[in-house]
């Protein structure tokens, strides 16, 4: 579904990888090895070269905002552009439904962003991205700041995304989580993916 061939950017060796529909791939590796750089490059947030495509459509054939709605990047540190939490969620009804499933109360939308805890921000940022209904999720440590119960909510929701044929590329430092969610693991070290791990099980190129 998502295909990346010879993606190059400063800090990364050429990367080739593929992810199938409904597949979750865990991206593991030491800090500073280029995991976030790779996710940012796939989302086209930093200048990079290489062939990246979704299905049969190349990234360059659609406007960047459209690409990012289909291939959503959720960084480890979430950004907020208004003081008011609710202002980040224009679609109230769908938001509230998803909030409940994340273990968050509706009242959180009324509190200022500055008062949110790290874990709340992290889950809200994920909700925000899921509401766009992307086909691919690029998640940078989606549960790192969460307690076990909250992480469980997140994993349940991610699993449902996979059942709906979304693809997930996820940075995680938790081997058990990788085991639970991902069918495959990619190890990235010093800006390069360990040999032989990149290709997708189906329709991948050499």
């Amino acid at each position: 579904m998502l295909r990346v061939r010879d993606l190059v950017r400063p800090g990364l060796e050429p990367v080739t990888l593929g992810i199938a529909q409904g597949e979750c791939v865990a991206l593991v590796g030491p800090s500073g090895s280029g995991k976030s750089l790779l996710l940012r490059a796939i989302a086209d947030l930093d200048p990079n070269q290489g062939e990246v495509s979704l299905g049969d459509t190349r990234r360059e054939d659609m406007p960047a905002p459209q690409w990012r709605r289909r291939v959503a990047y959720v960084p480890a540190e979430s950004g907020w552009w208004a003081d008011d939490t609710g202002a980040h969620f224009p679609e109230r009804e769908r938001t509230v439904a998803l909030l409940a499933r994340m273990g968050l109360a509706e009242t959180i939308l009324a509190s200022p962003v500055a008062r949110l805890s790290t874990g709340e921000r992290q889950r809200l940022a994920l909700v925000r991205a899921l509401l766009v209904e992307p086909e691919v999720l690029l998640l940078d440590e989606p549960t790192s700041g969460l307690d076990q119960a909250a992480a469980g909510h997140v994993e349940t929701i991610l699993r449902e995304c996979l059942d709906r044929d979304a693809a997930i590329l996820m940075v995680t430092h938790d081997p058990e989580q990788a085991e639970r969610l991902a069918r495959r693991q990619l190890t990235i070290e010093g800006g390069r993916i360990r040999d032989g791990e990149g290709a997708a099980p189906e329709g991948a190129s050499q």
């Binding site: 989302a43 086209d44 947030l45 930093d46 200048p47 960047a64 905002p65 960084p75 950004g79 552009w81």
Partner: protein, 268 residues
């Protein structure tokens, strides 16, 4: 017009005040006396040269010499804009962006004023063109430096907020809008303040000068109003050009935030 011509001894007498300042500095251990005297000497030399240059320029009334003087002033103002940036664009953009903005704004407004309101003969008469350009340039320069500085520091500060919106599929002009708006406000506020305070808190320099030169106060006020409007127009145009061009330079066709087009902050 009647005005009192100053003799050189009059000026020398006034400079005694400066010596008093220097003595104060020595007595209080401020260690400012050297700087004070050097700055004063610099001022005397600079202004003497400017006086002589202007005298020659006004006598010549040459379009080429006037244009050359204008260009020199603009390029110098551009350097000043550059010096006031804590973070600069990389390469030619660092100097080019601010300088071309103030150049466009100052030239358009000055030529407009000369050809439609002041109407000297010939229209480029340096006795009118150079002081008008100088006043417009000085204020536009301040606005543009502030606007650009706000834009760049704002984009760096709001990076995660801007990129969060980009990652959700928003377009760059939308995502960076709060920063550009803040930058435009920052660039325009000094002229708004200057207009509000004019006449009450501060007596504008040009008006005071004309009054000392024997011009009727009401006539001097008319000139000052014209100048303030021209300055406001020039500042608005220059700030708008610089901030919008700067915001464009901070992004690209793929709606990315290109902070890599900024160099590391200069220490100050």
């Amino acid at each position: 017009m009647s005005y009192i011509v100053l003799g050189y001894w009059d000026i020398a007498a006034a400079s005694v005040l400066l010596v008093l300042n220097a003595l104060l500095s020595i007595a209080m251990g401020l260690k400012l006396e050297r700087q004070l005297l050097l700055a004063a000497a610099r001022m005397v030399v600079q202004l003497a040269i400017v006086g002589l240059v202007l005298k020659a320029l006004f006598a010549a009334v040459s379009p080429w010499l006037t244009a050359a003087a204008a260009l020199f002033m603009i390029l110098f103002a551009g350097r000043e804009v550059l010096a006031r940036q804590t973070r600069r664009f990389t390469g030619w953009w660092a100097y080019g962006l601010g300088t071309s903005s103030i150049m466009a704004a100052a030239i358009i407004v000055t030529v407009l004023a000369l050809t439609t309101q002041v109407k000297p003969d010939p229209w480029y008469d340096p006795r009118y063109a150079i002081p008008l350009l100088g006043m417009i340039l000085g204020n536009t320069m301040t606005g543009v430096s502030l606007g650009l500085d706000r834009l760049v520091t704002g984009a760096v500060r709001e990076r995660t907020a801007i990129e969060a919106q980009l990652a959700l599929g928003h377009e760059m002009p939308w995502a960076i809008q709060p920063v550009t708006r803040e930058a435009l406000r920052g660039g325009l506020i000094p002229i708004v303040n200057a207009m509000a305070a004019a006449g009450v808190v501060s007596l504008p320099g040009m008006m005071t000068g004309q009054i000392l030169a024997g011009v009727d106060p009401v006539e001097a006020v008319k000139y000052q109003l014209l100048i303030m409007f021209l300055i406001a127009g020039g500042t608005g145009l220059g700030v708008l050009t610089a901030v919008l061009a700067g915001a464009r330079r901070l992004t690209d066709g793929r709606h990315r935030l290109r902070l890599d087009r900024l160099s590391a902050p200069t220490a100050d």
